[in-house]
C-alpha cells in the first residue's frame, strides 16, 4: 500500500514539475511564438516542424499549449493562494474564537460548500466583466469556504493541545501562537488542500475560458483554444486533442500529488 502511495505521489510530482517547467520555459522551448501565424501551414497534423500540429491560423499548437499552460497556472495559482490566505484566516479565527463567530463562519461555509462553483463564478464574472483576473477572483471566492472548513477542524483540535498551553504559559501572545505554533502544525493539511484545489481550479479556469468568460484573446488559453477548435474539428482534431489533454494532465498531476500527499501525511488514511 505504501509503495502505491509513493508511486502516486511520484507520478503527480513528475507531471506537475514537467508541465510547470514547460510553462515557465515556454519562450525557450518553443521554436514558434504563440501568436505567430504560418498561413501556408494551416490545420497541419503533427510533424517535425510543428510537433503538435497547427491551428486554423497556422499557429503552432505546441507553442500555444505551453503558453496556455502559463496562463492557466498563473490564474489557478493566484486564485488558490487568495483562497488559502482568506479562507485559512477565517478557519483559524473560527476555531480560535469559537462561539458565535465560529457558528456564523461555519454556517456560511456550509452553505457555499454544496453550491455549484461554476454558478458562483458566473455571478462574480457578471459583476466584474469577463477577464483572466475576474476568473481568478471568482475561483478564489468560491474556494474560500473550502479552506475555512479544512483548517477549522484541525485548528480546533490543536487549540486545546498542551504545546499551545505551554506557549501561552511562557507569555506568547495570540498572533504569535497562531502563526508560530498552530500554523506550522497545520502545514500538511494546507499542502494537501492546496494541491487538490489547484487540480479543480484548473478545470474551473478552463471551463470559464471555454465559455469565453475567462482569459480573453490574444492571451493564449487552453480553454479558449478548445472552444475555438470545435469550429474545424472535422478538418483537424489535433488542436482540440492536445489542448484538452494538457488541461487533463495538469489537473491530474495536482490531483495525484494531493492524493499521495494526503496518504503520506495522514497516517489514518494509509489504510484505505
Amino acid at each position: 500500500m505504501i509503495v502505491g502511495s509513493k508511486l502516486v505521489l511520484g507520478l503527480g510530482a513528475a507531471l506537475v514539475v514537467l508541465l510547470a517547467l514547460g510553462a515557465v520555459m515556454a519562450p525557450w522551448l518553443s521554436p514558434f511564438g504563440p501568436n505567430a501565424q504560418d498561413i501556408l501551414a494551416r490545420l497541419g497534423a503533427p510533424d517535425t516542424d510543428h510537433w503538435l500540429g497547427t491551428d486554423n491560423f497556422g499557429r503552432d499548437v505546441f507553442a500555444r499549449v505551453l503558453f496556455g499552460l502559463r496562463t492557466m497556472f498563473a490564474v489557478s495559482a493566484l486564485s488558490v493562494l487568495g483562497a488559502t490566505v482568506v479562507g485559512g484566516a477565517m478557519g483559524l479565527t473560527a476555531a480560535w474564537c469559537g462561539g458565535v463567530v465560529d457558528r456564523l463562519v461555519m454556517r456560511l461555509a456550509d452553505v457555499f460548500f454544496a453550491f455549484p462553483i461554476i454558478l458562483l463564478a458566473i455571478g462574480i464574472i457578471a459583476l466584474l466583466g469577463p477577464s483572466a483576473f475576474s476568473a481568478a477572483a471568482a475561483i478564489a471566492v468560491a474556494y474560500v469556504p473550502i479552506f475555512a472548513r479544512t483548517l477549522r477542524g484541525p485548528a480546533l483540535q490543536l487549540r486545546f493541545s498542551e504545546f499551545v498551553e505551554a506557549a501561552r504559559a511562557i507569555g506568547a501572545g495570540t498572533p504569535r501562537i497562531l502563526l508560530r505554533h498552530l500554523l506550522p502544525n497545520l502545514a500538511s493539511v494546507v499542502f494537501v488542500q492546496v494541491s487538490l484545489s489547484l487540480s479543480t481550479a484548473i478545470l474551473v479556469e478552463a471551463s470559464l475560458s471555454f465559455l469565453g468568460l475567462g482569459t480573453q484573446p490574444p492571451t493564449p488559453s487552453l480553454g479558449r483554444m478548445l472552444a475555438e477548435s470545435r469550429d474545424y474539428l472535422d478538418l483537424s482534431p489535433w488542436p482540440a486533442v492536445f489542448s484538452g489533454a494538457a488541461i487533463l494532465l495538469a489537473s491530474l498531476g495536482f490531483n495525484l500529488l494531493g492524493d499521495g500527499l494526503a496518504e503520506r501525511l495522514d497516517p489514518r488514511l494509509r489504510r484505505t
Binding site: R107, D110, F115, P116, I118, L119, I122, L211
Partner: protein, 316 residues
C-alpha cells in the same frame, strides 16, 4: 427528525435572504453606470432614455425602498423583462432551465447506475496492484474535463458513425426518442467524471464497511460473498453515498452548463453566458437567484433523505 427539519428550514431562509441581497446588489455594484452599459455604447442613446430605463428599474429611488419593491415583485414571480428579447425573464429562464434540468437528471441517473456496480466490483478486488490501478484510473476519470470529453465523443461519433451524432435540441414533448438521442452524448460527458468520483467513494466506504464485525459474522454464518457484499456491506455504505451524490449534483449542474455549449443545447449555461455578453442584468440576476434556491432545496432534500435512511440521524 424535527430538529433536522427545523435546522434545514433555518438554513433555507438564511441563504435565500443572503442570495436575494447579493443578487439585488449585483446590478447596483457593477463598476460604472449599469444603465448606460445596458443601453450600449450607442451614440444615439439620449439622457431621457437613460432616465426612463433607470426609472423603470427603480434605480432612482432610495436603496432600502428599492430592495423592498424588488423583493415584493420577486415574491410575486415578477423578475422583470429581458432587455434583449423583451420577454419576461421568468419565461426565458423556465425554458432554459428545463433543458439543463433534464441533462443534469439524466447525467445523475447514469452516474448512479454506473457507479454502484463499479464501486462494488472495485471493493471486491483487493490485491495491491488492482487497488493501485483503480486508484490511478478513478483519479484520471475525475479530472477529465467534461467539455473536452464531449468534444472528443462528438468527434469520435462523427468519425465512426457519420450522421448519427446530432447536436441541438428537440423537446421531449415533441420527439421523445430524438430528445434522448441528442442528450445521450452530453449526459455521458457530464456523467463520466462523476462516475469515477462516486465509484471511488463507494469503494472506500465499502472497504470500511467490510472490516466491521457484522461482516465477519455474516461470513461466519456461511453467507455467500455476493450476499455479504450486496446485502451487508453495500447497504451500510449507501448512507454516506447518498450525501456524496447530493454534493455531486452541484458538480453535474456545473458540468451541464459548460457541456451545453459543446452540444448547442439551449440551456441555462448558454442563456447566462449570452446574458452576460449582452449585459442583460435582469436575466443574470434572476437566473442566479433561482438556481441558488433550487440548490439549497436540493441540499435540504438530500439531508432529509439521509435522515430517512439512517435511523441514528432520524432519532437526533
Amino acid at each position: 427528525m424535527p430538529r433536522v427539519l427545523l435546522r434545514r428550514a433555518g438554513d433555507l431562509l438564511f441563504v435565500s435572504f443572503g442570495v436575494s441581497i447579493l443578487s439585488f446588489l449585483m446590478i447596483r455594484l457593477i463598476p460604472g453606470d449599469a444603465v448606460q452599459l445596458m443601453l450600449g455604447a450607442n451614440a444615439e442613446v439620449t439622457q431621457s432614455q437613460i432616465d426612463a430605463l433607470r426609472h423603470q428599474l427603480g434605480l432612482d429611488q432610495p436603496f432600502v425602498q428599492q430592495y423592498v419593491t424588488w423583493i415584493g415583485r420577486v415574491l410575486h414571480g415578477d423578475f422583470g423583462v429581458s432587455l434583449t428579447t423583451g420577454r419576461p425573464v421568468l419565461t426565458e429562464i423556465a425554458a432554459a432551465a428545463g433543458v439543463t434540468a433534464e441533462l443534469t437528471v439524466l447525467g445523475l441517473a447514469g452516474a448512479i447506475l454506473l457507479a454502484i456496480p463499479l464501486g462494488c466490483a472495485m471493493a471486491s478486488l483487493r490485491s495491491p496492484a488492482a487497488s493501485l490501478a483503480m486508484r490511478l484510473l478513478s483519479i484520471t476519470g475525475i479530472t477529465v474535463p467534461s467539455f473536452w470529453l464531449g468534444i472528443m465523443l462528438l468527434y469520435g461519433a462523427s468519425e465512426l458513425a457519420p450522421g448519427w451524432a446530432a447536436v441541438g435540441w428537440l423537446p421531449l414533448s415533441e420527439d421523445p426518442l430524438g430528445n434522448l438521442h441528442r442528450l445521450l452524448l452530453p449526459a455521458l460527458s457530464i456523467a463520466l467524471p462523476v462516475v469515477a468520483s462516486l465509484a471511488r467513494f463507494l469503494r472506500a466506504t465499502m472497504s470500511d464497511a467490510l472490516q466491521q464485525d457484522y461482516i465477519r459474522t455474516a461470513r461466519a454464518k456461511g453467507l455467500r460473498e455476493r450476499v455479504v457484499l450486496l446485502r451487508h456491506a453495500l447497504r451500510n455504505a449507501l448512507i454516506p453515498f447518498v450525501t456524496q451524490t447530493g454534493i455531486m449534483t452541484g458538480y453535474l449542474f456545473g458540468g451541464s452548463v459548460v457541456v451545453e455549449q459543446v452540444f448547442a443545447l439551449p440551456g441555462l449555461g448558454r442563456l447566462m453566458v449570452g446574458a452576460i455578453a449582452d449585459r442583460d442584468y435582469a436575466l443574470v440576476q434572476a437566473a442566479i437567484l433561482l438556481a441558488t434556491l433550487v440548490f439549497v432545496c436540493v441540499n435540504a432534500v438530500v439531508d432529509l433523505l439521509y435522515a430517512l435512511i439512517d435511523p441514528r440521524v432520524r432519532a437526533a
